[in-house]
Symmetry: C2
Subunit: 332 residues, 2 copies
């Protein structure tokens, strides 16, 4: 009993020191961001919702922040990285599928003709995704993704794909979490393609990854339960699918959302329409030198109506070239 009394008496001192440490750590958040409107809008928002007694204070439990992945947390050029994975995977699997030599879209792909593959449109892509993402257990697929990341290199930088993550966004995620936010990915990418690596890359655990899914099935194999990945789309987490998935998986409306393309439009609208303080942000790809410059006319990550909306509604638009000191951690 005496010990409890002592510890209770000491508690205010401990809390006081913790507060000081935290305050100190917060004097220089977001080191890879240049000073400017974008950085300041983030810091101001966090201050408003975390100031106890302030009229815009938001309890910790409600500090939900959602981030698109492709083009928002990591790069997406010259093609979505998950597509690069699928194309590499077709090559690996080709020896087990002699029929692919004469069958599109596989025949073009095996010859290295990516343009021929993409000419097949969405149907071709779905066929490739199903052939490369299904037919394994969930554990096997997890290992396949890890192995690919350990060997594949990005065609422009020569870096592993999981190093093509935006250092300023990694800092933003960390800064939000240090201020009591729960950070989620809400991506059109496959959940099980992301989960093996996002925890290390972004500090986001598997249970905070929302994405597209294929159907799966519980089965017993040699007396051991497994989950099999089936060649059937379950849910596409893009556009109007994003608020639907946020509602289904998280069950709370975010107060903070970041995207980079028209695929994030509905997620941003859904976030904006809640009560109380809101933050909506867009990563605008403006840096042809350190990354890529693209927006309204890009086939990957098109940012058109959402850029107009962001401007009209004064959402935060990050000008990558101007606002970021560094893009990738491996930049000088």
């Amino acid at each position: 009993m005496r010990r409890t009394i002592i510890s209770t008496m000491m508690m205010p001192a401990c809390l006081f020191l913790l507060v000081i440490t935290q305050a100190h750590a917060q004097t220089s958040p977001l080191p890879s961001w240049n000073d400017g409107k974008a950085k300041q809008s983030v810091i101001d928002f966090v201050k408003r919702v975390t100031t106890k007694g302030g009229k815009e204070f938001v309890p910790v439990a409600e500090r939900i922040a959602v981030f698109d992945n492709d083009g928002t947390l990591w790069a997406e050029q010259p093609m979505y990285f998950q597509l690069a994975f699928a194309l590499d995977r077709v090559k690996v699997l080709a020896s087990q599928h002699p029929e692919w030599q004469d069958k599109e879209p596989f025949a073009s792909l095996i010859k290295g003709d990516v343009k021929g593959v993409l000419a097949g449109g969405e149907k071709a892509l779905v066929e490739i995704i199903m052939a490369t993402h299904a037919g394994t257990t969930t554990e096997e697929f997890d290992n396949i993704v890890r192995d690919w990341l350990a060997s594949a290199k990005h065609p422009k930088t020569g870096r592993p794909y999981n190093e093509m993550i935006y250092q300023p966004m990694v800092e933003l995620l960390r800064y939000l979490r240090a201020n009591g936010f729960k950070t989620y990915i809400v991506s059109g990418g496959g959940v099980e393609f992301m989960r093996p690596w996002v925890e290390k890359a972004y500090g986001i655990p598997p249970e905070q990854v929302v994405g597209s899914t294929i159907k799966t099935k519980f089965d017993m194999r040699d007396g051991k339960p497994v989950i099999l990945r089936l060649a059937e789309i379950d849910f596409i987490d893009d556009k109007e699918g994003k608020p639907v998935a946020i509602n289904k998986f998280i069950g709370r409306r975010p107060i903070f959302a970041f995207g980079n393309s028209d695929g994030d439009h509905e997620m941003l609208l859904w976030t904006a329409a809640g009560r109380g303080p809101r933050f909506m942000g867009i990563v605008h790809h403006t840096d042809a030198e350190r990354e890529w410059a693209y927006d309204r006319k890009s086939s990957v990550g098109r940012l058109d109506k959402t850029l107009d909306e962001a401007t009209a509604k004064r959402w935060t638009v990050v000008d990558m070239k101007k606002d970021w000191k560094r893009v990738f951690a491996f930049d000088k």
Copy 2:
């Protein structure tokens, strides 16, 4: 800088005091449990996985615990409480549906003939669920559930349904969380039927509720985004659906699982088949006086093959009558 040094120097003292406080709080966990094998098995397991340097230590991030809801965290007799909600809802909606007077299963239900309704089997139930759970926005449905809980009373105890929660299980959830576990509900019940009340009842936030879902759709209504609940089943989170949903929503295999019926069999198997220490528990309804006594032959919450399996594999079987000092918080 000086402040940081001071706080760093003081940190070990703070941590030491926190440890003492925690150790003290842990001397009497689970006050509503009688001493015995069931209680001891929980305490032993938690000690094994939280002992630093121990060979069975599990990092905090992997301490995932999943709980069935109906019959495991709250009662489920004389019928699933969500069904009671649906039946009450039919009565409320009947005035807007004159055609229900002559249409089964609604006609029986409006007359108060629940047996007649149940005679219609699963088809009748699905019709009732769709008529009562769809056709609103998610926000409207949230309010409907809250209003029902505020007025409806359990037929046997006269208590609000959200007071029919098992006090020993509430303590178990709290004890696990105090030891770094993340506690989830994985229930056959509807996610959006549970989310409005489980945080207050169990301390489980909306984003840690996995359950059955109907399809939903994003829409704009008077310029405002809404999510509409559609009259179409999306996913039934029962039996082999439970491991599938755990994989999809959580993306980690639990190390701790608690259920009470054959609907939890696959979830328990999936938990048991992981590497390292595992805890599988069953609530066995043996207390006809304070609660209900039922198992192998019950139409609600049947516990048959899972009871055999639990015995054979030495999973923890909680004998409600023997192991629990109190069942509900309102018991003496």
